[in-house]
Symmetry: C2
Subunit: 263 residues, 2 copies
């Protein structure tokens, strides 16, 4: 609102950014809520900068964590830069919460009473270009005989609807829980942080859309990480989490591959 | 930092915006910390969007309050749109805190170890153009025989260095306290909010630079309002504060003018 500050988040850039495309790791990192830009055809949603900087508009810290992990693993990373309030790229077109009128008690004026055409317009502007980039990257790797492991990186707010959350790391899965099953006992014995399966969100909340669409659908190993965003507020903390996730993934993937060979 | 979101705050717009230039009120409203843009020659200061959206970078809610007050009073309003972290337009060039390396425990990488030339460059880019607009507006009005009353609008953070602040309205003055002296007893008997003289900042903190420069220097009545920014988080609250300040100013100015005629 104030002066024209939120207008400066308005952009015409493509939704997806691909980084380290030639990375040697089998892991393909995806960060659906990496940015909080607003497409110029839509403009401000009637929110102020504090709202646009908050977890309702994107996953603060997730892009930093994904980039650090990409570097450590030498893994390709696909980031999506528009605000989840425009269209949540981790939801299907049909999902009622792909475009929300309210989030964490904040009313979003620009999302009120949208027509079917407006919803479809946002889907085509943000979701589809991002989907195409992820999908074509996955397909190319499958065709090359190096099917990727899909790992999505998210952050969650420490206080939701007034309730403080103790959880620090969520490990989420959809129908195929192989990688999550392998990660969880490792994370639990890792110590030093609070971890849980399918918390603070789960497949039932629609939070595993990317995993289902690009992972399960293609028979690929996949998992979603949710790190509490107050633990990603500085470079050192981000590095620590990237190191943890790198180690967890390396050991867990080794174990899963061993089990698969054993079967 | 994340993706290129903070880069979107980078701008080449002029520092000052004048609104309602033909307003009939004697009051001239000034809002030095109305925006949090970053000049393109300087770019990101190494902060993330959450920091840029916070009170360290600007006065959230102050522009909304000033605009609502401008409408109610039919008063000219001058807003300054660059972040106070680039150069604090409510400080002199000589003030050590015109450019801060740290604010509310946040280190500002882009403000570290600046040369004299860099400091001067920022002064010329942000302070001077803003100063010129305020100064020429004041001079034009004095020359027209309608000397303005300078009223600056600020907001302050509810939590500073971990301490919660109970104060809701600060009424600040520099060497000439005529208007503040008239406002304070009215505000104290108004009820419904906590008010104090020269809190949470004062002339000793250098916070009355604009008042001194454009008000005291020209013998003009002047005052600075500081409203706690969590009380300016929605339109209705902003309207309530604008209504309060409008009424306080109308009565207080009437009383001061009566006293001046009486002397």
């Amino acid at each position: 609102m104030t002066v024209e500050v939120v207008d400066n988040l308005v952009s015409d850039k493509p939704a997806a950014i691909v980084e380290n495309a030639g990375g040697t790791s089998r892991i393909l990192l995806v960060c659906e809520h990496a940015g909080c830009l607003l497409p110029s055809s839509i403009g401000s949603l009637g929110l102020d900068l504090a709202d646009m900087a908050s977890h309702i508009a994107w996953d603060p810290g997730a892009a930093e964590l994904a980039r650090e992990l990409s570097k450590r693993l030498d893994a390709c990373l696909i980031l999506q830069r528009y605000s989840r309030l425009v269209f949540d790229c981790n939801r299907s077109l049909e999902a009622v919460d792909a475009i929300v009128e309210e989030s964490d008690n904040i009313f979003i004026p620009g999302n009120s009473a949208l027509s079917v055409d407006e919803r479809l317009g946002r889907y085509e502007l943000v979701y589809q270009p991002f989907y195409q980039v992820v999908s074509s990257t996955v397909t190319a790797r499958i065709n090359a005989g190096t099917p990727p492991v899909i790992v999505t990186i998210h952050s969650f707010t420490p206080v939701y609807k007034g309730q403080r959350r103790e959880l620090e790391l969520g490990i989420l899965h959809d129908a195929d829980s192989r990688l999550a099953d392998s990660l969880l006992p490792l994370a639990e014995t890792d110590g030093g942080y609070i971890v849980a399966r399918n918390q603070p969100y789960s497949a039932e909340d629609g939070a595993t859309h990317t995993l289902a669409t690009h992972g399960v659908e293609n028979g690929l190993l996949n998992v979603m990480f949710e790190v509490r965003n107050d633990l990603l507020s500085d470079k050192l903390s981000v590095e620590r989490w990237a190191q943890r996730l790198e180690q967890l993934l390396s050991v867990a993937l080794g174990n899963v591959h061993e089990q698969m060979r054993g079967n």
